[in-house]
């Protein structure tokens, strides 16, 4: 498994745009695109959970090189809340119902375009981690909150 690089982000953005997938970079990977200096291992995408969008997502994932069986493709099309992929060019988590966010459209309205990518607003990224309330979130939140303040000063 290769580590995620900028060229992967560019390819992901290109293919998702080509297929018309509605998504947001989310979680720590989204914060990193906003400028956060920290480390993570996988890419989190918050994807609109609509039948048509999920079908487009499957096509995009296959084109990106994720090896999905027919059954896995059916599952994604059917709609899940969380899918973890370790069968492609980089580690990818697909989140359809993140903690702390009621509707995709709300997060979409608040999104930021950064380096040509749609990225969730830092308030949504922070809010979701606060709502998830996992140990790893608890440990990373002080620095993420610090980044949010820095970002608001430097936008």
């Amino acid at each position: 498994m290769a580590v995620f690089e900028f060229k992967n982000a560019q390819e992901l953005g290109r293919v998702c745009q080509l297929h018309g997938v509605k998504y947001l970079f989310f979680g720590k990977s989204g914060a990193i695109l906003l400028g956060f200096s920290d480390t993570t291992q996988d890419v989190d995408l918050y994807v609109e959970k609509q039948v048509a969008n999920c079908a487009k997502l499957v096509d995009a994932l296959v084109e990106l090189g994720f090896r999905l069986t027919e059954e896995e493709q059916r599952e994604i099309r059917r709609g899940k809340d969380f899918i973890q992929l370790r069968n492609g060019p980089f580690d990818l988590d697909l989140i359809f119902a993140p903690d702390g966010i009621e509707r995709f459209d709300d997060a979409w309205q608040r999104r930021v375009e950064k380096h040509g990518f749609p990225v969730a607003n830092i308030d949504d990224i922070v809010g979701s981690k606060q709502a998830a309330n996992r140990q790893k979130d608890k440990e990373s939140l002080p620095r993420l909150l610090s980044f949010r303040e820095w970002l608001k000063r430097n936008q």
């Binding site: 498994m1 580590v3 995620f4 690089e5 900028f6 982000a9 990977s29 990193i32 400028g35 956060f36 200096s37 920290d38 480390t39 993570t40 291992q41 890419v43 090896r67 999905l68 069986t69 896995e72 599952e75 994604i76 899940k80 809340d81 969380f82 899918i83 973890q84 992929l85 370790r86 069968n87 980089f90 580690d91 119902a97 993140p98 903690d99 380096h115 998830a132 309330n133 996992r134 140990q135 790893k136 979130d137 608890k138 440990e139 002080p142 620095r143 909150l145 610090s146 980044f147 303040e149 820095w150 970002l151 430097n154």
Partner: protein, 69 residues
């Protein structure tokens, strides 16, 4: 944490990161280390986030930090 409580060293890091090309920033930020159990399957799916959280609680080592506090 309020704006006055931030660690100044953090902001120095963010200032420095903002000066790097995005390619380098991404290279510095994404790493790969093996995470037991989590990385042992190529595909997992969960109907609900609650189901996912419960799976993490039941299957992942505590030290990975995926359990709710």
């Amino acid at each position: 944490m309020s704006i006055v409580e931030h660690d100044p060293a953090d902001w120095d890091d963010f200032d420095a990161a903002a000066k790097r090309p995005i390619e380098q920033h991404i290279r510095n930020s994404f790493i790969k280390t093996y995470k037991p159990v989590l990385d042992d399957a190529e595909y997992r799916s969960f109907d609900t986030m609650e189901e996912y959280r419960q799976w993490c609680k039941d299957n992942l080592p505590d030290w990975l930090g995926y359990s709710r506090t």
